[in-house]
């Protein structure tokens, strides 16, 4: 099956730079989601997603059509940027464990008002449901953010970006067996971190 993004990259290589706009439009939401869920921080995620596009744009001529899936290439670049970002944060002594969508800058458990104030206005949702949803999202995002990087990265690629094990092993340059066992290990850790949340709800 021909991959549309791959076709668009070929167009770029032939000088039709506008094709890159389409690549951006098709991939920005998954890319921002991937990085935001991995870092637990939407602002940095947007910056790094942009950086990913910039690097892909620079490398248009070096892109080798058909040699690998476009998405594998994109996530490979983004994953490296994410790892660098974590390393830099470690050096600066900053660490975010607070949820992405809660947007409470304090880093503490969001208050009810916080949650309602930042919840997306969706008519069909009752406020109580919104609150529940926000709490759930906060709990899950915190659990993800607590995972060590080498487990978190494959987990997000698998369970949120829905890449295949093969694609993840290519993206991260890991043997297939290692990829599978890391994802299983990551899910086991996640299960333990979410235990009290699941049992209390």
């Amino acid at each position: 099956m021909p991959d549309l993004d791959d076709e668009l990259m070929k167009q770029c290589q032939q000088g039709n730079i506008e094709a890159f706009d389409l690549i951006v439009r098709r991939n920005q939401v998954p890319l921002v989601n991937f990085i935001a869920r991995f870092l637990g921080d939407q602002d940095s995620a947007e910056d790094l997603a942009q950086e990913t596009f910039v690097r892909m744009f620079k490398a248009i001529k070096r892109y080798k059509s058909g040699a690998a899936k476009f998405s594998t290439w994109m996530y490979h670049i983004a994953s490296n940027l994410c790892k660098n970002e974590l390393r830099n944060r470690g050096r600066r002594g900053r660490f975010f464990a607070d949820g992405v969508a809660t947007e409470s800058s304090s880093g503490t458990e969001p208050t009810e008002e916080d949650l309602i104030a930042t919840a997306p206005a969706h008519v069909s949702l009752q406020p109580s449901n919104q609150l529940e949803q926000k709490e759930r999202e906060y709990a899950v995002q915190s659990a993800i953010s607590e995972l060590p990087e080498r487990y978190r990265l494959p987990l997000v690629l698998r369970d949120l970006q829905e890449l295949s094990y093969e694609e993840i092993s290519e993206t991260l340059n890991l043997p297939l067996g290692t990829t599978k066992s890391r994802i299983n290990r990551a899910r086991l850790m996640l299960k333990d971190k979410l235990r009290s949340f699941v049992e209390s709800s």
């Binding site: 951006v24 942009q50 620079k58 070096r62 040699a67 969508a101 899950v140 659990a143 699941v198």
Partner: protein, 233 residues
């Protein structure tokens, strides 16, 4: 089967990746182990929670900022070797690769002869990594006969060799260059490149990275010329 082994198979079990016999063993354990049943249920629930995470919408400034950043970005040109080899197909590429490999070997022997008279110390010899492409008999000869510790100055001149040989071959590429004129506007090399760690791009075959000055340099070069450029990511 013990609980630890059972846990290791949770993902494979729920994703139907176990064979028939493994499923039976796994389920036999579940039937006798309440703890694993509970943990598996929790495993599934936490995965459901993960899958239910809402999608994050990029902010409204995302596009504007990105467009501004892209406007400041130049498409980088392809490294020499790739540009020469990429448009060639089949025999042409092999022929060119052969010529290049032969030149490398000849230059290797030339310096070998020179160093023989100068520095016979070969002590630092380490088994060269047996890297990727199928090693050919010629390489082995070179490996055995070439002193592995070569004075650094001469290595420096060796290192420059691939580029200058490409210069000789350049006419080949003129007619077959597939890139269009619009992109070529940006061919000023290396304005941004310095800030860009190569490792963040497509996994770059090691031959495109700056040549490392080391003992098995010649082996590397041969491998390179034989590696088809369309391999890798």
């Amino acid at each position: 089967m013990n609980c630890l082994k059972a846990e290791e198979q949770f993902s494979a079990y729920i994703e139907d990746e176990l064979d028939y016999q493994a499923v039976r063993t796994f389920e036999a354990h579940l039937n006798t182990c309440e703890s694993c049943r509970r943990e598996l249920a929790l495993f599934r629930e936490s995965l459901d929670l993960l899958h239910q995470l809402p999608q994050i919408k990029p902010s409204t400034e995302f596009d504007v900022t990105l467009q501004a950043r892209l406007a400041d970005t130049h498409v980088e040109s392809i490294p020499f070797w790739q540009r020469v080899l990429q448009p060639l197909h089949g025999q042409a590429r092999w022929a060119l690769s052969g010529v290049a490999a032969l030149l490398v070997i000849l230059v290797g022997f030339y310096f070998y002869q020179k160093t023989l008279t100068k520095s016979p110390s070969v002590d630092t010899a380490v088994a060269p990594e047996t890297s990727r492409a199928a090693p050919v008999a010629k390489e082995r000869e070179v490996k055995q006969q070439l002193p592995l510790a070569v004075p650094s100055q001469e290595l420096q001149s060796l290192v420059k060799f691939p580029d200058s040989s490409v210069l000789d071959l350049q006419p080949v590429r003129g007619s077959q260059q597939p890139q269009s004129a619009t992109l070529d506007l940006q061919q000023l090399r290396g304005t941004q490149q310095s800030q860009l760690p190569e490792s963040d791009m497509q996994p770059v075959p090691e031959n495109q990275q700056p040549q490392r000055v080391e003992q098995n340099y010649i082996l590397r070069t041969i491998n390179y010329t034989e590696a088809p450029t369309e391999g890798g990511l």
